[in-house]
């Protein structure tokens, strides 16, 4: 059953369509929600709620649209809302978004499992130091593969701003990498 058929079934009241979509997208959705919230329980609750929201609005969903971006968008926003509701967005912003992006950019060049594991630990720590909203930017960009336009839409800024943000991040990355390589 492809997505379109699953949506058509769901729009017809056939819950097998929902089950298909849940089982197809839940793991990535759960991981995205976890990366934003840092808590498995909250991630599970957010993903359940996100799928239920999709289900409740499915009769108005245009089946010609791709499902995954729409679903992931609901997941990110639902997670952010839940985090906010539980006042979990008060973490100190000890690390800038650009620094976290710089660490992620290193992923392209690391070799070997040990180095990769070290970098993963660094990134996890960096993520923990970000606010949920900042983590959502990372998740949208690097985990859900949203385009600049989608990110701009999701963040409520222009695409030009996104380009500048990314450009700045790259510049900072170069500086950080250059500094790190020095003895």
């Amino acid at each position: 059953m492809d997505d379109r058929e699953a949506v058509a079934r769901l729009q017809a009241g056939d819950l097998s369509g929902l089950e298909t979509l849940v089982r197809r997208y839940q793991v990535r959705a759960l991981r995205a929600a976890f990366l934003i919230s840092g808590e498995r329980e909250l991630a599970e609750e957010a993903v359940q709620e996100a799928f239920l929201r999709f289900y409740r609005g499915v009769r108005r969903f245009d089946p010609s649209r791709p499902v995954a971006p729409y679903l992931y968008r609901i997941v990110v926003n639902t997670t952010l809302n839940m985090v906010r509701r539980e006042r979990r967005d008060l973490s100190l912003e000890q690390m800038s978004l650009q620094q976290a992006e710089a660490l992620l950019a290193q992923a392209e060049t690391v070799e070997g499992e040990v180095e990769r594991a070290l970098l993963a630990a660094q990134i996890e720590k960096a993520l923990a130091a970000l606010s949920p909203r900042q983590r959502a930017v990372i998740v949208r960009r690097y985990y859900l593969g949203m385009s600049e336009q989608e990110m701009a839409d999701a963040m409520g800024v222009s695409r030009g701003t996104i380009k500048r943000l990314l450009h700045n991040a790259r510049g900072r990355l170069r500086r950080i990498l250059g500094e790190e390589q020095r003895p």
């Binding site: 009241g13 089950e19 990366l35 239920l52 409740r56 009769r59 639902t78 992923a107 993963a120």
Partner: protein
């Protein structure tokens, strides 16, 4: 996307969210607590339909093919075998029958049907989903020698479906069909079914619908976008095969996309069809059997021929640089990580100017190259002669902004040992996005197939308002009205609308005059419907039906639940749907009677005749068909109107002369009206307006609600803004209501 970053993030999250994490049981449990749209007890055979795995299956153009209705495209050459007789089993009130099937050199196809004894249907509660263990096994065919053929494609609409397996070996005439998972059956019904099937050579009198080949006129492709900077290797011959077959009351056109030599990738964007008068032809879901093809469309047989079929597509082509062009960059004897060399040299590669802006030493043994090129350049293929790349590469163009003159591309190339001194970049080719192309062909069915009937040429019924020829609301007008809303004229009655509520499972329901005055909050729920006298509101809550008295502000629950209720003219009964069936509920005692069950798909209420004895509904069978059912004797009549909006949502006007409905126009939806017989069909809201399926007529039948939605940055739910449009004068106004208008009463 940065694949390595993705993998790292995934690895981090995987420590907490394992691969087998499953929240569906919790979701199912939450749905059970709120069984608003629970599927009732039709037996639904869930077959884990696989995505198209038939990439290697190619039906050669020009080969003798035929279409077997309901089964698919058959290649009779090379020994066609058919199921000798239908096979059926009945257990615990459920009957599963394998009705027909064939095996040719390409595939084995079987069609099944499931039915449930009527005493198992409504109001017996469905088996709770949470009690149904997940079943991931797929159907298979077991051969006499013990080998099994796994289903490679399957699915259907539930009560009927189609299974595709690999071809049977030449001498095999018997196989056991294994159906491991039947879903949503009555309590106690078995889920696992097996059937022994016998196949025999096709009888000589087996007739198949003939398939005809259609060819494009020569040199029909034309670019529709801005021309590239140099002549592009655009396709002169449209890269599509086109075949046609007449089946039932439909013409189905289908074919393949020819990707040629691997140097060119074709992306079909859209297919549109217009009739002999230039009017858009509604495209309907094709019947089963064409899923293996790259594209397939269907339309009703009663269109005015010849039709014009227009393909729009885009291609990305690899354009080699011949001879390869080289560029030397001196990075010195000891490049330091982070060190950058501004190059800013422009080359002409395959006719496209490409600038190497900079080179930077990155990481331990890598260089990052930054290019600038015109937006049509998608990728640059190059190599560094002095060092063998061990990773990275692939320029991955940044998507150009609308109207941008250049796009910037970055790529990092990892070397085993970073070359130093003068390095030479050898450019091999570019991947270039070609302008969108378009090609059309005109086609009439071969002689002997049905010709246009009255439906496409009928004049409006006597006394009907004269249709206005032009579309009433398009995107430009919609945006203009949103930006500068004109004063709202006096509009009759009151509206019920719903608003999404953050953190709530169901939307809030409100009743107000069209100008927003006298607003009342009713509660939380879905599918609100105003009674004919405007004094009651029926809606669905998490606990089932709720009937609110708008005059007293009180509400009382009614037994059962469902969706899309439509009040009878006398206000004593309600027509509603639930899954694949439609019912009438008597409000005074809650008694429910089954009106009809969809055979191949859902049925959706549309309206009542004034006599209160006949109901209109839409049934999905290769597109939605408007039908009428007489509640007194159960007789059914096809009224003629067909449309395609997946949900089957349509609304009958108060004078019964018009039906409003969303319909597929190309790839998006527009809002139309037509007489119930399908005549005087007219587009009211163009498909470039983001219109919702749900609409409503004003009590005087002069206005239509047009619900529009706008995606909002950072919001899960789009902003919803209803409009009213007079389809006869084309007057249009945005309403000062935020939400979606579900109904309009006196």
């Amino acid at each position: 996307m940065n694949r390595a970053a993705f993998q790292l993030l995934d690895a981090i999250a995987r420590q907490h969210i394992p691969d087998d994490a499953d929240v569906y049981p919790q979701i199912a449990a939450r749905l059970q607590r709120a069984p608003r749209r629970r599927v009732r007890l039709q037996a639904v055979l869930l077959l884990a339909a696989l995505l198209l795995l038939l990439a290697g299956v190619v039906y050669a153009a020009g080969r003798s093919l035929g279409y077997w209705p309901g089964l698919g495209v058959v290649a009779p050459e090379g020994g066609l075998r058919v199921l000798t007789k239908p096979v059926a089993q009945t257990r615990a009130g459920v009957t599963v029958s394998i009705e027909k099937g064939f095996g040719d050199a390409e595939q084995t196809v079987l069609v099944y049907r499931v039915s449930v004894a009527s005493d198992h249907v409504w109001p017996t509660p469905a088996t709770p989903l949470a009690e149904q263990p997940a079943c991931t096994e797929t159907p298979s065919l077991r051969l006499p020698d013990g080998h099994t053929l796994a289903m490679r494609q399957g699915g259907g609409s539930g009560a009927a479906g189609r299974l595709v397996f690999p071809p049977l070996p030449p001498k095999v005439s018997q196989a056991v069909l294994n159906l491991p998972c039947l879903w949503n059956l009555p309590p106690g019904a078995p889920r696992h079914w097996q059937f022994t099937l016998q196949f025999a050579p096709a009888p000589p009198n087996l007739t198949l619908e003939p398939i005809t080949q259609i060819t494009f006129p020569t040199a029909t492709a034309s670019g529709t976008g801005a021309p590239p900077s140099t002549p592009a290797a655009a396709t002169n011959t449209p890269p599509f095969t086109v075949q046609a077959v007449h089946t039932g009351n439909l013409f189905v056109l289908f074919g393949r996309t020819q990707q040629s030599d691997g140097q060119r990738f074709v992306m079909l964007e859209r297919i549109t069809v217009t009739d002999a008068h230039g009017q858009p032809v509604t495209l309907l879901p094709p019947p089963q059997g064409f899923e293996n093809y790259d594209w397939q469309i269907a339309f009703a047989q009663d269109v005015a021929f010849p039709v014009k079929i227009t393909f729009r597509w885009q291609e990305q082509a690899f354009q080699p640089v011949k001879p390869p062009v080289e560029l030397a960059v001196n990075v010195g004897a000891d490049p330091k990580p982070g060190q950058t060399w501004q190059v800013n040299k422009t080359l002409t590669l395959a006719g496209h100017p490409v600038t190497l802006e900079s080179v930077q030493a990155a990481g331990d043994e890598a260089y990052a190259f930054t290019f600038r090129a015109s937006p049509e350049v998608q990728d640059i293929a190059f190599e560094v002669e002095e060092g063998k790349a061990v990773g990275g590469g692939g320029t991955g163009a940044v998507l150009p902004r609308e109207g941008a003159k250049f796009s910037v591309m970055e790529t990092t190339v990892q070397f085993a040992q970073r070359p130093t001194g003068t390095i030479h970049l050898k450019f091999l080719g570019l991947t270039v996005r070609l302008p969108e192309q378009e090609a059309s062909l005109r086609w009439s069915p071969p002689e002997g197939t049905p010709q246009p009937t009255a439906a496409s040429t009928a004049t409006p019924a006597a006394g009907a308002p004269s249709p206005t020829p032009a579309v009433c609301l398009d995107a430009a007008k919609w945006e203009e009205l949103l930006a500068s809303p004109p004063p709202l004229p006096p509009l009759p009655g009151k509206m019920v609308y719903d608003r999404y509520q953050e953190g709530h499972r169901l939307p809030g329901l409100y009743v107000a005059h069209p100008d927003g005055s006298a607003k009342q909050r009713i509660g939380e729920g879905a599918w609100p419907a105003l009674s004919p006298d405007g004094e009651h509101l029926l809606y669905s809550t998490a606990d089932g039906w709720m009937l609110a008295d708008l005059t007293t502000g009180t509400a009382r629950p009614l037994p059962g639940d469902g969706y899309h209720p439509v009040w009878s003219p006398d206000g004593e009964r309600v027509l509603f749907a639930d899954g694949r069936a439609m019912y009438v509920m008597r409000l005074r005692d809650g008694k429910v009677s089954l009106v009809t069950q969809g055979i191949a798909g859902p049925v959706e209420p549309v309206g009542w005749r004034k006599d209160g004895q006949r109901v209109l509904y839409a049934a999905l069978e290769a597109g939605f068909h408007l039908r009428e059912r007489d509640l007194r004797d159960g007789t059914r009549k096809d009224l003629g109107l067909t449309f395609n909006n997946k949900a089957g949502y349509a609304v009958l006007s108060p004078d019964e002369k018009w039906v409003a409905f969303a319909d597929l126009q190309g790839t998006t939806w527009g809002l139309l009206i037509a007489h119930p017989d399908g005549s005087a069909r007219r587009l009211i809201v163009a498909s470039d307006v983001p219109v919702a399926f749900i609409t409503a007529w004003s009590p005087d039948g002069q206005w239509l609600v047009v619900n529009t939605t706008t995606p909002m940055p950072g919001q899960a739910m789009p902003k919803r803004r209803p409009f009213v449009v007079n389809p006869f004068t084309c007057a249009a106004y945005p309403l000062p209501l935020e939400g979606m208008v579900d109904g309009w009463g006196p």
